[in-house]
């Protein structure tokens, strides 16, 4: 009998250049304070990165929270709006300068995304920037990638599982309709099939 090695569930982290991150951070200056909403999980590298600026960082691991909410015994009639209200409970006075959506757009259908973007728009003001990575590949990791900021031009992609799922492959026209209250400040199609967007709230 031979013992087989346990299956490696994570994909080895890889460093990627990020022109979008660079564009997002370009206007960030050290003499100001920023309010940042991070919809990804809490990561040591990102907290360390943002700590060099004067900022107020909100971390909300939104996808996992939403999954937990859906897994809970919620009434059928509960809508995404209700979920997003509960999961993103900021007051109307809250305003964010930067929203880090990372790749979570790939994990929601257009109806859910519409509710999410509508919710996020409440806390945007002209100039608020939203950073998103949208995949055009047929398949994506079963769970969102963890993006660790190395420096303003590089991120480490840490894919949590080797399992995959079909990518919704949101079309540019759908993204344009979805983000009607934003303009595209920058967008970069990377070699590995991911498009980085920096949206700016109108």
């Amino acid at each position: 009998m031979t013992l087989s090695a346990p299956r490696e569930t994570r994909v080895s982290p890889a460093v990627h250049k990020s022109l979008g991150l660079n564009a997002l951070l370009n206007p960030v200056r050290g003499d100001r304070s920023y309010s940042i909403l991070d919809l990804g999980p809490a990561l040591e590298a990102n907290v360390r990165f943002w700590s060099q600026f004067s900022c107020w960082l909100h971390i909300h691991d939104f996808y996992r929270s939403y999954r937990e909410w859906k897994a809970a015994d919620v009434p059928e009639e509960e809508s995404e709006e209700a979920a997003f209200s509960a999961l993103l409970p900021f007051s109307d006075e809250t305003v964010f300068d930067i929203i880090l959506a990372w790749d979570i757009f790939n994990y929601f259908d257009l109806r859910e995304l519409e509710a999410l973007v509508q919710r996020l728009s409440r806390w945007c003001r002209p100039g608020t920037r939203l950073f998103a990575l949208i995949s055009s590949l047929p398949n994506i990791s079963a769970s969102p990638t963890m993006f660790r900021i190395l420096n303003p031009e590089q991120m480490i992609y840490e894919i949590p599982t080797q399992d995959t799922r079909p990518c919704p492959r949101h079309q540019p026209r759908d993204i344009a309709r979805l983000m009607a209250r934003f303009t595209v400040s920058s967008s970069f199609l990377l070699r590995h099939g991911i498009q980085e967007y920096v949206f700016a709230f109108k």
Partner: protein
């Protein structure tokens, strides 16, 4: 049979378990061990905890922990539903509440925290399950601003708006 000596036979300051005095030992006294209070795993406290020494919590606390000049450590089995003030705060267990430290807050890998953190230095280890906000503005912690919750998050001053870039092309 062993005869038990009477108390009068024993020197008052010496017990058989104590090592004999070391005449060759240096005269300078070692620094006293830092005083630290421990709340054990079976202890549950409701109310406000305050005092003049460091605190290590392995039990449950509901209410407030106010030790602004001392360090507060929440051990792996600590379960806290309270706002915590300390000089430095280290969390290994679970906390639901706001944390304010004069020096630093450290969330260890095993921690689960729901709340808002205010400190000049915040360190968060990977694996830490954190949801909330981290105030890393340069103002001194604790007295900089009152602790806030997500529901009362305040709007930053208007001069903090990011410069709006030239409108880009639509997708």
């Amino acid at each position: 049979m062993i005869w038990k000596k009477s108390d009068a036979d024993n020197p008052p300051t010496q017990t058989p378990m104590q090592p004999p005095p070391q005449p060759s030992a240096p005269r300078s006294q070692p620094p006293p061990a830092k005083e630290r209070a421990l709340i054990g795993p079976s202890i549950e406290i409701k109310g406000t905890l305050s005092g003049g020494e460091d605190l290590f919590v392995e039990g449950r606390v509901e209410g407030k922990i106010e030790l602004a000049q001392h360090s507060v450590t929440i051990g792996p089995s600590g379960r806290i539903k309270a706002d915590i003030q300390g000089r430095s705060i280290v969390v290994m267990g679970e906390v639901e509440g706001n944390l304010a430290a004069l020096e630093q807050i450290i969330l260890r890998q095993s921690s689960k925290v729901r709340g808002n953190l205010v400190a000049p230095r915040v360190s968060l280890e990977d694996g830490s399950d954190f949801k909330g906000s981290i105030d890393m503005t340069s103002k001194p912690a604790v007295e900089a601003k009152p602790l806030h919750t997500d529901n009362t998050a305040v709007k930053p001053p208007s001069q903090q708006v990011l410069r709006q870039d030239k409108t880009g092309d639509k997708v």
